[in-house]
């Protein structure tokens, strides 16, 4: 049971990542490949604040998210001038840079050894220990993120974002300051990814750079595409299916030497079939051009 709840909590964290990336990729049409880097910034910021300065994880979470946004702004200003493939490569590069910093700035991050013993969240001086309490906590943040992204998507503001996705030149011709909107979206996405990272750190109580590789960014992107770009429900489904499905394959009862690669293969196969049969994702509406 505890194992099941654990999977749900991790899935919840991925839902937050998927929702926020969906705003960038699915609603605004910006191919971003470095989303996990913002989670990394959020996770390390709040962990280091808690461990070195005794800052409460609650504040750490907010500061981490804001710092991730700030990094998003710094990275966004130059890279939002790039389009399509070039933007994808730039954000990919950003993901690699953040990973490298977390791995090599040993004095600060302890490098590949990671940060053990990160404090857990506490309420009125009591540390949150039971697993279910984290399920509640993560669920609350998932709800908050879902609400925010949903409101953004279904508003005049969100309509402008989708117009940029559909035809940037037409959007310019009706007066949209395209770069400004792209930057805002990038910063919002970074903010929620920072929250996800911070939740992860204070739940697992251990982080190391290997949790934040570029492959993780790709995995989140897959969840967005799998569930459906430009769909809130799709982000929930994409993250849940792609997190829970591989776990279920564990129970097939095969020797682990076969099971692990087989899981990867089934996972890959599933994605190929989906892209052939439903390129807009399970319940998405938008198809990449």
């Amino acid at each position: 049971m505890e194992y099941f709840i654990h999977i749900l909590i991790i899935s919840g964290i991925y839902i937050i990542l998927t929702l926020s990336l969906n705003l960038i990729v699915g609603y605004t049409g910006l191919p971003a490949l470095g989303h996990i880097a913002f989670a990394c910034v959020g996770a390390y910021t709040s962990s280091l604040l808690a461990m070195n300065y005794g800052v409460s994880p609650w504040f750490g979470l907010v500061i981490g998210a804001c710092f991730a946004s700030f990094i998003g702004l710094i990275i966004g200003i130059p890279s939002m001038r790039l389009k399509e493939d070039y933007l994808a490569i730039a954000t990919f590069g950003f993901g690699v840079i953040v990973y490298s910093v977390s791995k090599n700035w040993v004095d600060l991050t302890r490098g590949p050894m990671g940060l053990p013993g990160i404090p857990k969240f506490s309420v009125f001086g009591f540390e949150l220990q039971p697993v279910w309490s984290y399920l509640v906590l993560v669920a609350a943040f998932v709800a908050l993120t879902g609400l925010a992204i949903n409101r953004i998507a279904h508003s005049p503001f969100g309509r402008i974002l989708r117009s940029i996705r559909d035809d940037e030149i037409a959007s310019l011709s009706i007066g949209t300051n395209v770069n400004k909107y792209k930057l805002i979206v990038f910063v919002i996405g970074a903010f929620f990814a920072g929250i996800a990272g911070s939740l992860y750190a204070h739940y697992i109580t251990f982080i190391d750079p290997s949790s934040f590789t570029v492959m993780e960014s790709i995995a989140v992107l897959l969840m967005v595409v799998f569930g459906g770009m430009g769909s809130i429900k799709g982000s929930f489904i994409g993250a849940l299916v792609l997190m829970i499905f591989p776990e279920m394959l564990r129970f097939l009862g095969m020797p682990s030497s076969v099971a692990a690669p087989l899981r990867q293969m089934i996972y890959g196969l599933l994605l190929i079939v989906l892209m052939l049969k439903r390129p807009q994702g399970i319940i998405g509406e938008y198809r990449f051009k």
């Binding site: 925010a148 409101r151 953004i152 508003s155 005049p156 503001f157 969100g158 309509r159 402008i160 989708r162 117009s163 996705r165 559909d166 035809d167 030149i169 037409a170 959007s171 310019l172 011709s173 009706i174 007066g175 949209t176 300051n177 395209v178 805002i184 919002i188 509406e285 938008y286 198809r287």
Partner: protein, 256 residues
């Protein structure tokens, strides 16, 4: 008063001069047609005026303000709206959304409004949806409001682009081949829309190949060939202009 002034602009693409030392002015409240054979630089001129291209040399003034090197969205905000030769809609959005995007929101459009669902946003949305429906009725497509723009026919998409541009309430409109590829029955409708804009004191500059439309609605015609202006005048003057006939028909006529 000339609301739009183009002064000696040139634009080269890899050494080829698409627009060559072109100058003209557009009087406020008039309809001006820009005509010329294919490849004579008409659309390039539009893109230069609206900021999508930057001229190699020369300057462009709108309402006595220089707009030569200003970003397209800023030029739009000065009051210059446009349509495109190859129709640019937002294909995966509904017809209504396409038209709403053209309408200038004076409130309720910020991130803050979105996150807190402010009353300003809800109110603006109601008001502007009504306005968008009005525009859809003008082009006769109110029945298509919830269909995706990509599902419409070419002519319908042309009309939606029109409706979207009308919603911007610009002072000056640039229409790039408004009747191209449109069902013949639709042409009078487009002609009426342009005439109606003129009667409201708007300024129109348009590119057109349909000479009937050009002769019917324009006050002035500017003729381009190889990026240069070869003639300028009233429709009647242009009809009888030797240089224009040469450009369109070739020189053979003279020897006949």
């Amino acid at each position: 008063m000339e609301i739009l002034q183009v002064r000696n602009i040139s634009k080269s693409f890899h050494g080829t001069k698409a627009v060559d030392d072109l100058s003209f002015g557009v009087e406020k409240g008039t309809v001006t047609a820009l005509i010329g054979p294919n490849g004579s630089g008409k659309t390039v001129t539009f893109n230069l005026v609206t900021g999508f291209y930057r001229p190699t040399s020369g300057s462009i003034h709108f309402k006595s303000k220089e707009i030569t090197r200003i970003a397209p969205h800023k030029i739009f905000n000065l009051g210059l709206g446009r349509t495109f030769q190859n129709i640019r809609l937002f294909p995966q959005m509904t017809v209504l959304e396409n038209v709403l995007l053209g309408i200038k929101y004076d409130r309720g459009e910020t991130l803050w409004d979105a996150l807190f669902r402010t009353s300003a946003m809800l109110e603006a949305e109601r008001q502007y949806t009504a306005r968008a429906m009005e525009l859809l009725r003008i082009v006769g497509l109110e029945g298509k409001r919830d269909e995706l723009a990509e599902s419409l026919s070419h002519g319908q998409r042309r009309l939606i682009e029109f409706a979207r541009t009308l919603g911007t309430e610009s002072e000056c409109y640039l229409f790039d081949e408004p009747t191209a590829g449109v069902f013949p029955n639709t042409i009078p409708k487009i002609r009426e829309i342009i005439k109606d804009l003129k009667s409201k004191g708007k300024t129109i500059l348009f590119i057109e190949h349909n000479m009937k439309v050009v002769m019917d609605i324009s006050d002035k015609v500017i003729v381009l060939n190889h990026g240069k202006k070869i003639a300028e005048g009233t429709p009647v003057e242009i009809q009888n202009n030797e240089a224009v006939l040469d450009a369109y028909m070739g020189k053979r006529r003279q020897s006949a």
